[in-house]
């Protein structure tokens, strides 16, 4: 009796629920159309174009591996690939080591929610100026006669200006770290703010000192924030070209700079090759980071 009733109601329910989810699918329709037209199709095009035949003045849709061979046979391109990876890892580490303590302070030690928000807004203030101004502003800071050298010399710490500060890999790393550190601080501070203070008190009550609590409780619980922050920084640094152009005096060539140069000289096929390589690296890194933490659990 009960079973029949149940199955009867299940049959009644079924079409209703399927029509409901059909309506729900309509909701993401515009987004799907938009993303297909302006993301999926262009990306497929880039992969396709990377196999086209490039001559000095024109490009033909005859398929060839020539551009791929050019990339992997050239020391310039390969060294730019390694430079990109090196700078990305350095900036990732720098944003983490600068960002984590900041996030720890804002997310955990500032108890007042208003002050917490105010401090996070403070981190975003540099974004009120344009990206290029933020980058170029580093020149008078880092230059041979820049603010840092003047201060250090006035203080008597150095006698010769440090020339390595500007137009080197170091200046690119400094610039990028400053620009992107906030994308590390935000997600970490958010995760830290969600930790129940009682949990930290419980750990201390069980005999754990500050470093133990940080290592065994706070860090593991903030890991999803670190992963999200790392994804943000990775995506932005791997695609960078402006900071390296402005702060390295064109000495540091990232894959992004290569794309800009190639597109500038209408070498679409080679630019596409670099684009595909860059996108692949990003995809691998993001997939790897997502393996570290089960983000589904946090949402």
């Amino acid at each position: 009796m009960t079973t029949t009733e149940l199955s009867a109601s299940a049959i009644e329910m079924a079409p209703q629920s399927s029509s409901k989810s059909g309506g729900a699918y309509l909701l993401i329709g515009p987004a799907v159309v938009w993303m297909t037209l302006f993301l999926v199709v262009p990306m497929a095009m880039i992969v396709y174009v990377s196999f086209w035949t490039q001559t000095t003045f024109k490009i033909e849709s005859t398929l060839t591996l020539a551009s791929w061979r050019t990339f992997f046979a050239s020391d310039t391109y390969l060294s730019s690939l390694w430079t990109t990876i090196r700078i990305w890892l350095t900036v990732l580490a720098a944003t983490f080591f600068v960002g984590y303590p900041t996030a720890l302070f804002v997310g955990l030690f500032v108890k007042n929610k208003t002050l917490q928000t105010a401090l996070l807004v403070l981190c975003v203030i540099p974004f009120w100026t344009s990206f290029l101004i933020r980058v170029v502003a580093w020149r008078p800071m880092l230059g041979k006669e820049g603010a840092i050298n003047i201060l250090l010399m006035k203080a008597g710490i150095i006698h010769q200006p440090i020339e390595a500060l500007l137009f080197t890999e170091l200046s690119v790393v400094i610039g990028m770290t400053q620009i992107y550190v906030v994308f590390m601080v935000g997600p970490i501070a958010f995760m830290l703010g969600r930790i129940d203070p009682n949990i930290l008190e419980a750990a201390r009550d069980l005999g754990a000192g500050f470093w133990r609590v940080l290592r065994k409780i706070i860090f593991p619980l903030s890991l999803p924030g670190v992963v999200v922050g790392a994804i943000f920084v990775t995506v932005m640094v791997l695609g960078e070209f402006a900071t390296s152009a402005a702060l390295s005096g064109r000495k540091v060539n990232l894959l992004g700079n290569i794309i800009v140069t190639q597109v500038g000289s209408l070498k679409w096929a080679l630019a596409s090759v670099v684009g595909v390589i860059l996108t692949t690296i990003m995809a691998i890194v993001i997939a790897g980071l997502l393996l570290v933490v089960d983000l589904k659990k946090e949402l």
Binding site: D196, N198, I199, E201, A202, A203, R204, D205, L206, G207, A208, G209, R212, K216, I217, P220, L221
Partner: protein, 349 residues
């Protein structure tokens, strides 16, 4: 020579701005004792517990553990266990790793094999053998409570503080955990200080009972003494088993808005009031009494509570234990004289 109490509090005072959350609180807990700390919400009972554990800084007063002053020690060097109301389990660790956290990360390092052995032993004691690998979000509320308890007990603290440990459990489980708590404590012999807002829980659990009111200690004694002879009208109100009347002592009687009652027992108190237990009221006889209209009854299983109302709206409760015979029947709206023996009344003042 008297033994040194495990915990001794001397004049604990904690101010939040102008308001005193703790006002000169002093008492001691002896080894093997189960002390209940009862107070309404906002009475400062949680602050007191947190101050003992070291989570709150005090304006004045000393906390002594086994005779040693630990007032300025941080929580992780105090050897005091704390069981949080919301359990505060580490969400990223398994049941086993939660319990093993103390031995593994404590102030004195424990070898891993010993940490494991102690953890297993403790999980068995609280009845969680076989749950070692579960994540803490995969177990029930009662099991979480046991994990929290095991996690605290495994570090072998001198004293365990429990902050409303049963508050997050449903009524059925609460009764079972009461028995469990007692059994575990007796097995280990560690003194427990149990904070609760429930008078039945406090009376049932404690060898001794402390009543806290607005940051001050109102009474400290055996549960039966406190139940039979509350120290002041607030304690009587909070025990939830007394009808309390305002008024004043005039000669040999206590004068209230409902008439004058013979003094009965006298308890010195700054606040004058007259109290008589629900279960000492009866519908006739007695040397003292007042008229009130019957409203409704509540059946509690072993007893029945009848609610009456005085003309000015004060609710009077009469509890009838069913072992004393079937309950009387009353008609709603009709006025009865509720009476009691003079000896059963308590006159504060």
């Amino acid at each position: 020579m008297a033994e040194v109490p495990v915990l001794r509090l001397e004049g604990l005072t904690k101010l939040f701005g102008e308001r005193a959350a703790l006002d000169n609180v002093s008492f001691s807990v002896n080894s093997g004792e189960y002390v209940s700390l009862l107070g309404p919400s906002g009475s400062g009972k949680t602050v007191l517990l947190r101050a003992i554990a070291g989570f709150e800084t005090l304006q004045s007063g000393r906390v002594l553990l086994k005779g040693k002053d630990v007032t300025s020690r941080p929580p992780y060097l105090r050897d005091i266990g704390f069981v949080f109301q919301n359990f505060a389990l580490f969400p990223h660790l398994s049941v086993f790793d939660n319990v093993a956290f103390g031995p593994r990360n404590g102030a004195q390092p424990t070898p891993e094999h010993e940490a494991r052995a102690r953890t297993l032993e403790m999980l068995e004691l609280v009845g969680l053998k076989g749950f070692e690998d579960r994540a803490v979000h995969q177990i029930s509320g009662g099991q979480k409570q046991r994990v929290a308890l095991a996690r605290t007990l495994v570090i072998r603290p001198e004293l365990v503080l429990l902050d409303e440990p049963l508050g997050a459990l449903d009524a059925n489980l609460r009764l079972r955990m009461r028995g469990e708590l007692r059994r575990i404590r007796e097995q280990l012999g560690i003194p427990f200080l149990h904070v609760t807002g429930s008078e039945t829980e406090a009376l049932a659990m404690g060898d001794r009972l402390i009543v806290l009111d607005s940051g001050k200690m109102s009474q400290f004694g055996r549960p039966s003494d406190i139940y039979d002879r509350p120290a002041n009208p607030n304690v009587a109100r909070f025990l939830n088993c007394y009808n309390v009347f305002d008024g004043s002592i005039e000669g040999e009687s206590f004068r209230t808005a409902y008439g004058s009652f013979p003094l009965g027992q006298r308890v010195a108190s700054a606040q004058p009031a007259y109290a008589v237990r629900y279960d000492r009221l009866k519908p006739d006889g007695g040397e003292a009494g007042l008229p009130a209209a019957y409203v409704a009854s509540e059946y509690l299983g072993s007893s029945i509570v009848h609610f009456f109302e005085t003309p000015d709206g004060k609710v009077i409760e009469l509890e009838h234990h069913l072992s004393n015979g079937p309950p009387d029947s009353y008609s709603p709206g009709q006025t009865y004289r509720l009476a009691w023996n003079a000896d059963d009344g308590i006159a504060f003042g």
